[in-house]
Amino acid sequence: MPEKMLVEDHIKKNKRDTLLICMLMIFLLFGLIFAIGYALGAPPIITAPIAIIVALAYIMITYSFSVQSVISAAGARPANPQIQTEKMLIYKVEEMAIAAGLPTPKAYVQDSKDINAFATGRKPEEAIICATTGALQQLNKEELEGVIGHEMSHIRNRDILVMTVTVGVVGAIALIAEIALRMLFFGGGSRGGDKKGGGGIIVVIIAIIFIVLAPIFSRLTYLAISRKREYLADADGAYLTRNPEGLAMALEKIKGDLPDDPKGSKTVAPLYIANPYKRALSDSIWSTHPPLDERIRRLRSM
């Protein structure tokens, strides 16, 4: 079946890209450590452990808060099987879990007119899939199935974990860079100059530029990972349902539906199937999600 191979190729390419971007992220963190070493005269043997401890602490904190905080920020409640539309959600979650060979996640509902859905949970055993009431009312069976398949793929690919770790690294890079810059201006600024001659100053300036730019680049890297994972979940979801058109039609509906009264914190925005805050139709390096038109085009080319 040539179509199926295509979906698998999409999946492979996306995984490779994510790996590359993650390596870039680690490079940024270590580059920062060395840059601080040059700028402040502190050797990497001191800065490296500090940076790694800060990064790990950041990851642990974001990791331990994820499920409950996401659910309460969204104001979500468990789906009620007595209501026909919510029963359909429970059914679709069960079906997609079977197709993915995963334990069945809990189905949740968020009261919102907006068409949207998200998945959370650190591992598949404690995962949750939440859909908005708007999605349940406006999407037909096939479209809902596409959306749930997309969310199930986020769970299967452990995207929640990937995104939590990247958020942790981004936060750590920002914090370390901030501290380094403060130390540079209020204390150790002269130290680097004392030690080295004319060539040394250039290195120090390059290091400082790197310290200033690292947080921006790490943020951009994080957004790039977020977009890659979105494409990957689209392709994987299409493979689960064997029906890319279902998700494509759902995304068409989301495109036509303007965001309305978003709830919850902005940090969970990348978890949703489409950004609940703004529907950027153009490609931008600052968006958490790829443009809907491009996602629809890719799904239809599978």
Binding site: Y91, E94, E95, M96, I98, A99, G101, R242
Partner: protein
């Protein structure tokens, strides 16, 4: 003397690496095989669930559809086929028969307004359609698992390891062309 030792140590490390490598393939093949068994168990659970729903449905429908004996009988017969199936392919074939029989029954039910107003009937109809979808997806997952397994034992060096273990390719479940269309039951 020293050189001999170095060569010996390198040789040992290389052999150890190769053994680990083969073991990882061995484990992978076992893991994939277990996954196939698991996904079969999943299909079986759904088939049984579906078969269990049928007596309830018959009980509900009986009072309304007195003149549709043939339709009712074909459903009962297909259900018995699932209960008596010996091989996976037999179960799947019987399930396809049941799907066809239920399709007819639900189509006939359209001309019984009283039945269509019966909440119990509507719930059963929902549930049966849902189980049908679940069976289709568990079948798909079974075939995905078989594909992953077959790929693992066909590509070298997995092929050599599989040869040593005496593992053979497994068959995917054949799904008759007609049943691939999920029956459209109006809600």
């Amino acid at each position: 003397m020293d050189i001999i030792w170095i060569i010996l140590i390198i040789a040992l490390v290389v052999i150890f690496g190769i053994v680990l490598w083969i073991l990882s393939y061995f484990n992978r093949i076992i893991k994939f095989e277990n996954r196939i068994d698991n996904s079969w168990a999943q299909i079986d659970v759904q088939l049984k669930r579906r078969a269990d729903l049928i007596p309830n449905l018959m009980e509900t429908v009986k009072g309304y559809m007195k003149h549709e004996r043939e339709t009712l009988e074909s459903v009962t017969k297909a259900r018995a086929g699932i209960m008596n199936a010996k091989t996976p392919q037999d179960s799947i074939n019987a399930d396809n028969m049941l799907t066809g029989a239920l399709k007819t029954l639900f189509a006939v039910a359209e001309s019984y307004p009283d039945l269509k107003a019966n909440q119990n009937f509507l719930n059963l109809q929902d549930e049966l359609t849902h189980t049908e979808d679940k069976i289709a997806y568990s079948r798909q997952h079974y075939n995905d698992s078989v594909l992953a397994y077959n790929n693992a034992i066909e590509v070298i060096p997995g092929r050599w390891v599989a040869g040593m273990m005496g593992k053979k390719e497994k068959q995917m479940l054949q799904i008759p062309e007609a049943s691939r269309e999920v029956p459209k039951v109006a809600f």
